[in-house]
Symmetry: C2
Subunit: 124 residues, 2 copies
Amino acid sequence: MYLSIDFNSDEAIYLQLCNQIILGIAMEQYREGDPLPSVRQLADNIGINMHTVNKAYTVLKQEGFVKLDRRRGAVISLDVDKIRSIEELRRNMQLLIARAICKNISREEIHQLVDEIFLEYLGE
Amino acid sequence: MYLSIDFNSDEAIYLQLCNQIILGIAMEQYREGDPLPSVRQLADNIGINMHTVNKAYTVLKQEGFVKLDRRRGAVISLDVDKIRSIEELRRNMQLLIARAICKNISREEIHQLVDEIFLEYLGE
DNA sequence: ATGTTGTTATATAAAATGTATAACAGATAT
DNA sequence: ATATCTGTTATACATTTTATATAACAACAT
C-alpha cells in the first residue's frame, strides 16, 4: 500500500487519498474484495488524523468504489452504474478537451494520450 | 455572453466562471482579441461580487487564456505552452481514465466520447 | 473633468478542511 | 467474559478558502 501524500499540494488530503486508491484499483493493485487499511491504521501510517481518512473512505463509498463493514473495515467493492459514470466522465472530459483545444492540442494527440494511459494501466 | 452560475453547486463561483469562459473559447464563441466584460459589469450582470469575477480573470490570466489591460479590460489572448499543457492534461486524464476503468468503461468508449465532444465543439 | 479600466487594501462572514478527544455499538479472538 | 479491533458519531477548535462589502488608487478614454 504505497500512498504518498503531498502536504504542500493545493489538493485536499482526503481527495489525494481518494485519487490514489482509485488509481490503485484501476492499475489492478487492488481487486474486488481486497481490504483497505483501517481508518486508524492508515491515519497512523501516513501521520494524519483519523477523520481525514474516514472522509476519504466515505467519499469512496458514496462514489461506489468501496463498501464499509464494521467487521472487515473498508473493502474494495465496485458498484458499476455505467450510465451515471459515463455522464460524469463526459462532463469532466468536456472541460479537459476545452482546455486542450485552447492550447492547440489536437484530437489525434488526445487519442494517443488515452492509448498511452491505457497501456500504462492495463498493458492493453 | 451566456454565463449561467449555479449557486447551489459545490463548485466555487469563480471556477464556474473560468470553466464557462474556457468552454466559450473552445467553441469559438470568443476569439483571440475579443474583450470580456469588465469585472464590474459582469459582477453586476450575474449578481455577484466584483472580486469573485476578478479572481476568475486572474486565474484565467495565470493559466494563459486572457490578458488583462487597464485600457481595454480583459481580452482573450491564448498563451500556448504546449508542453506544459500536455503535462497537465495527462495528469487530469489519468484520473479520469482510472475512474472510467473502475466503472467498466472501455478504451473504445472513451475514444468515441472524445470524438463526440470534438464534434460538438468544432464540428470536426 | 468625468467615467471607465484593472488593481490593491481592509474587513467581515460563511464554508471547507484538518486536527484533537472521546465515546458508542458491532464483531472477533483469546 | 474480556480485550481488542472495526466503522460511526459527537463535540470542539484552528486554518484556509470562498465570497462579499467598501474604499481608494493609477492609467486611460471621452
